[in-house]
């Protein structure tokens, strides 16, 4: 009992820190464009809060508390630094920001502007998601590195480089003008989705850090939706992530074995998450601005009928993939479209659609292509070719549970 009270006090403290952290960081970095200096200014205050709040409770104004500590620490640091080196302009600016913020009743929320800076096209696409996770949520480089399967040192270096680029190149902290908002928002959403996909790639959730990343991404998705409630694609992305998250438990059986979507027990899907996703998607649809994330969320939605004993609406899914294919030209979409086509028509039609993709080199090492191919060949009764495709799929899979699943399928071929 005492333990769980302690636990919930810690959780409440962490949640309050997270909510305040991005806001304070965005506020401090907005004028200086110096994310690293703003992080330094907040680091000790955050550590102090995480030690103090679980014991004494979250203060009434967490932001004011953090600011007061940050300001005190910052002045100390600046004093110590003064003899060694002249405080740079950005340090002076940070001091001014801190002083200004201390006099405010509430801190303006610049998090959206910070997200647009983190997902700026002038930064490498691969660093945008890690940067956003660090700047908005305060995750450390080691946690992010573990999720993206790179060494902490390398991740730390790439993050530092991206922050220097923001400062040196003068990347603005601003929500873009209407004319370019769509395209720029897309890169923010892409980065959030990349974070989600990293968390999602460990479906069993054995690695706590990876599972958390999916939750962090959903948190970011909610934040964007609350700050830009009129953007259909932002709602679409959140709906997509919630649909996927709703199936987390159903993706493994009691023994921890992989269960493909077609064989999942819909009773295990999380009903409140699905309901929330459906409402979001409906709201997005009414905005009449269709996009990639809404289409993908709609595909997920078409499986939901199974909860009421129905069959997934494959002709709707096929139409959605047709639209996605026309929009993105992505080979990943083409593979999914072939599977839907096989469901609507027959396996031969799906195989023919996959054959048409063979010239695309990007698919040669794409596991789902081979798994889909193997499944369709097996359904069509072509055991020899299916066996070969399964072998390729197994060789490319990194998740042992999925590998075992594919091996079982392959063995079943031999009857």
């Amino acid at each position: 009992m005492a333990r769980s009270a302690e636990e919930s006090a810690r959780t409440a403290a962490a949640a309050a820190v997270r909510e305040s952290y991005g806001k304070l960081l965005a506020f401090l970095a907005a004028r200086t464009r110096d994310v690293a200096a703003a992080e330094d200014a907040l680091a000790e205050a955050v550590a102090a809060a995480l030690a103090d709040w679980p014991l004494r409770g979250v203060p009434r104004s967490p932001e004011a508390w953090l600011l007061a500590v940050a300001r005190r620490k910052f002045i100390d640091q600046a004093r110590r630094r003064q003899s060694a080196e002249a405080a740079g302009d950005h340090l002076r600016l940070i001091a001014e920001e801190l002083a200004e913020a201390a006099g405010m009743a509430t801190i303006p929320d610049n998090r959206l502007a910070l997200m647009f800076a983190c997902a700026h096209p002038a930064l490498d696409a691969g660093i945008r998601a890690p940067l956003m996770l660090q700047a908005i949520l305060g995750l450390d480089a080691a946690t992010i590195a573990a999720a993206f399967l790179v060494s902490p040192a390398a991740m730390g270096q790439r993050l530092a480089r991206a922050k220097s680029k923001i400062r040196q190149a003068g990347i603005p902290f601003r929500v873009p003008e209407r004319a370019e908002l769509g395209e720029r928002l897309h890169s923010v959403l892409e980065a959030i989705y990349a974070a989600f996909a990293e968390g999602w790639s460990d479906p069993v959730g054995t690695e706590i850090r990876r599972r958390d990343l999916a939750e962090e991404a959903i948190w970011l998705g909610r934040l964007v939706c609350s700050l830009l409630p009129g953007e259909a694609e932002a709602l679409g992305l959140l709906a997509l992530m919630l649909h996927a998250e709703a199936r987390r438990k159903a993706r493994r059986d009691a023994q921890g074995e992989y269960v493909p979507l077609a064989e999942q027990d819909p009773a295990l899907w999380d009903a409140p998450l699905i309901a929330e996703a459906e409402v979001l998607l409906f709201r997005a649809g009414a905005m009449d601005a269709i996009g990639r994330f809404q289409l993908e969320a709609a595909v997920q939605s078409a499986h939901v009928v199974r909860r009421h004993g129905g069959r997934s609406d494959w002709s709707a899914i096929l139409r959605l993939y047709d639209a996605l294919w026309a929009m993105t030209g992505s080979p990943v979409v083409a593979v999914n479209r072939a599977v839907a086509l096989a469901e609507v028509k027959d396996p031969a039609a799906g195989i023919a659609a996959l054959d048409a993709l063979q010239s695309d080199d990007r698919l040669a090492e794409y596991q789902p292509y081979w798994a889909a191919r193997a499944g369709l060949l097996a359904s069509a009764g072509n055991a020899a070719a299916a066996d070969e495709a399964y072998e390729q799929a197994i060789g490319l899979e990194h998740d042992p549970a999925v590998r075992r699943f594919l091996e079982r399928r392959r063995r079943a071929l031999r009857g």
Partner: protein
């Protein structure tokens, strides 16, 4: 902030262009320079002689080496620049995209080291 817009383009293609095409390109640059001037953001600009006229100098161990030709032999060569003063990178990128060089070559946007 000050930014350099460095214009890289294919010199051979430009030389092979017909008179009308050259006139059109020159006209486009004049209009662009005019627009930058009207917006009050231009600091400096110049067109460079072709890269075949370049000479590259290095000094090592007290010895000076002089080489005929540009620093790097690439298909697209630095052909000119604009220096502009705008609030942030987005504004610089917007101007870079309007530069005629962006459509017949590439424009590298580099912030100037603030002293």
């Amino acid at each position: 902030m000050k930014y350099m817009l460095l214009i890289y383009s294919n010199e051979a293609a430009f030389e092979a262009a017909g008179k009308a095409e050259v006139q059109e390109i020159v006209g486009a640059y004049q209009a662009y320079t005019q627009a930058l001037t009207k917006a009050g953001v231009i600091v400096a600009s110049d067109r460079l002689q072709r890269s075949a006229s370049a000479t590259t100098v290095r000094t090592a161990d007290g010895k000076t080496k002089v080489l005929n030709g540009p620093y790097a032999e690439t298909k697209e060569q630095l052909g000119g620049f604009y220096m502009i003063d705008v609030p942030d990178l987005d504004a610089a990128l917007t101007w870079a995209a309007r530069c005629p060089g962006a459509s017949h070559g590439a424009v590298e946007v580099r912030p100037v080291w603030a002293m």
